[in-house]
Amino acid sequence: MPRATNAPASRARRKRVLKKAKGYRGRRSKLFRYAKDATMKGQYWAYRDRKTRKRTFRYLWIQRLNAAARANGMTYSRFAEGLKAAGIGLDRKILSDLAVTDEAAFKSIVDQAKSALADKSNQKKAA
């Protein structure tokens, strides 16, 4: 069998992987065999989780909104319905931020959602 004479390239390749694995725990940052797996999985999950991040943040905002809406005497579900009826197009990121940083503004939005909801149910009764 011929002798493999590609050592510089192989070494460079392994060094590249080990450089990416800096700061990993234990042998995952020191040994190529384990670093290779760790970096590959890291990149793979990073790619996937950039997408799931959008979902998990939405879950978080909705939980915050539910808590804030309930503090104002409304459930999240009814609040969302009222927002739609009132034509308020603010997204959940902004609303949950308002609930935390500007309570007065959030309360006035909740009040408008409430009144829009009341109008909606009155119309339904009339029809």
Binding site: Q43, Y44, A46, Y47, G87, I88, G89, D97, A105, Q112
Partner: protein
């Protein structure tokens, strides 16, 4: 605390005058003025105005500071047992803007609606 909520590039941002934010790429040269006419809400501390969903006539003007690129993200696609993997680098194009002014326009309907509540 005066601020407005604007929508650009599919995202909503809460902006106040003097703030600098990064938004999705706008086709405006650096140093020129960008106008955001999609204003969803305006609050000046004690009064809140919202649109249906947009406040008509309201606009936020901003100075384009620079066109820049976000940090590089690596998209690593991998299918196990299929010998498939791809590495693609990507840098999102952003426009850094400094908010100059927030104007609500002359329309008062949304405010009136609030007063009636």
């Amino acid at each position: 605390m005066v601020y407005a909520i604007i929508k650009t590039g599919g995202r909503q941002y809460r902006v106040a005058e003097g703030e600098t934010i990064d938004v999705d790429l706008l086709e405006v040269d650096a140093g020129r003025t960008a106008t955001f006419s999609h204003v969803l809400m305006y609050a000046d501390g004690n009064k809140l105005t919202h649109g249906d969903p947009l406040i008509s006539g309201a606009k936020v003007t901003a100075e384009v500071v620079e066109q820049r690129k976000d940090k590089k993200v690596i998209a690593f696609k991998f299918k196990r047992r299929k010998g498939y993997h791809r590495t693609v680098g990507h840098r999102r194009k952003l426009t850094r803007v400094k908010i100059k002014s927030i104007s609500i326009g002359a329309k008062k309907s949304a405010t009136a609606k609030k007063a009636a509540d």
